[in-house]
């Protein structure tokens, strides 16, 4: 009897919602840091978007100003575990756009900072871009988002609490 309890405790279905909580909080931290780093310099955020040279400057300014607020909101949704699957889906979509943007900057031979965590897309003189690590990092974040997209039910979440109310 005690043996079956023990094995049941460490099974994947038992562990997964807790692992999901860790993943959710990890992805939340990513968005909160990314947003907080940019929110104090919205003009710089717009310049960072513009540095990719994929849209007119006026559009880049709008995206650059909106993005930090969207990132922080995503972070808050993930911290409290509300609409986890939707937040994971939007996270995945955003990360795919970022990865595409960095790849295209790399392919076009641009010399920019990704601006992922602030810094306004500016690369200090003599500093070479680090596209591969930036893409690898975003792919790691994408794995977190994909986990939550597949298994959005996590412990210590508002989603779970709502589930219990019906």
């Amino acid at each position: 009897m005690s043996v079956t309890t023990l094995t049941r405790d460490v099974t994947w279905p038992g562990l997964r919602p807790w692992l999901g909580t860790l993943v959710r909080l990890g992805l939340a931290a990513v968005w909160l840091f990314a947003g907080a780093a940019k929110v104090g310099d919205l003009a710089g955020s717009g310049r960072a978007v513009n540095a990719y040279q994929v849209m007119p400057f006026e559009v880049a300014k709008v995206i650059g100003a909106a993005l930090p607020f969207v990132e922080i909101t995503l972070g808050v949704l993930l911290v409290v575990g509300l609409a986890t699957r939707a937040a994971a889906a939007i996270s995945s979509a955003l990360l795919l756009v970022f990865i595409a943007g960095i790849s295209s900057a790399w392919a076009r031979g641009l010399s920019i900072d990704c601006g992922c965590f602030g810094s306004g897309g500016q690369l200090a003189a003599g500093q070479s871009p680090s596209y591969a690590p930036e893409i690898a990092r975003d792919l790691g974040f994408l794995v977190l988002a994909a986990f939550l997209l597949v298994w959005p039910r996590t412990r210590l979440s508002i989603d779970r609490w709502l589930e219990g109310t019906t």
């Binding site: 919205l42 003009a43 310049r47 513009n50 540095a51 709008v62 909106a66 939707a86 920019i112 200090a124």
Partner: protein, 237 residues
């Protein structure tokens, strides 16, 4: 199984289906609400940015500058555009190594040089020193002391991550050059040229300048702006 039992289990199945349907609907509405909140957050960001811009006051350009470009010195035929940030250490290095070559080119009547004093590095100080220093240099331009003031700011460049020079220190540098304490001080304290700095910075970003210092000779970016490279580019132009 009796009829009664069958009826009970059928009711159970129906209840389960109804509960699943309720969950599905709730998840959908929660998701829609979350997306709406994200859209609203984005709109708030744009609104905050717009109000930051309009709160800064009207856009006026200082002497020898336009609303989108910096102070221009010299009257030579070749146009040199410099993009500098007063807190950028590499700009200080650039001024130390290439500044005199540019001065010579101006004095020899070969170039006119535009100092686009951009504020790319406002987050690099705790007091938006990039914007404040560029605006102060614009105030000095009104008093005819742009270049002198520009050189003084590089000589006293604060470290990245610091608070930078205070407004009263910026004013003291100017009065030390003979600028009028009253009008120069008022120009700095009121932030008269802060909107202009933002405008020049925007124009630089729009022109594709992603870093400072950037040196452009007759429309061509000089990738490694040594004195020799600049002189060669000017002579070739």
């Amino acid at each position: 199984m009796s009829k009664r039992q069958q009826g009970k289990s059928a009711a159970k199945v129906v209840r389960k289906q109804l509960a699943a349907e309720r969950r599905r609907k709730r998840t959908m509405w929660v998701s829609i609400a979350a997306v709406a909140v994200l859209v609203i957050a984005g709109l708030i960001g744009w609104g905050v940015y717009q109000s930051q811009r309009s709160d800064a006051g009207p856009l006026v350009a200082p002497a020898s500058a336009t609303t989108t470009t910096g102070e221009t010195l010299g009257t030579g035929p070749v146009q040199v555009q410099l993009y500098e940030d007063f807190i950028c250490p590499h700009c200080k290095d650039f001024e130390a190594t290439s500044g005199s070559a540019i001065n010579d080119l101006v004095n020899d009547g070969k170039i006119k040089v535009t100092y686009n004093t951009v504020a790319y590095l406002d987050p690099a100080s705790t007091t938006e020193y990039s914007t404040r220093s560029a605006a102060a240099a614009a105030c000095a331009a009104d008093g005819g002391k742009f270049k002198e003031y520009h050189d003084a700011l590089y000589a006293q460049q604060p470290a990245e991550g610091s608070a930078g020079l205070s407004n009263s220190q910026l004013i003291a540098i100017g009065t030390g050059m003979g600028l009028d304490q009253g009008s120069f001080g008022q120009c700095i304290d009121s932030g008269r040229y802060k909107p202009w700095v933002a405008s020049v910075t925007d124009a630089a970003a729009k022109a594709g300048v992603t870093g400072t210092p950037t040196v452009v000779v007759n429309g061509q970016v000089i990738p490694n702006p040594t004195p020799d490279a600049i002189v060669a580019a000017v002579n070739a132009a």
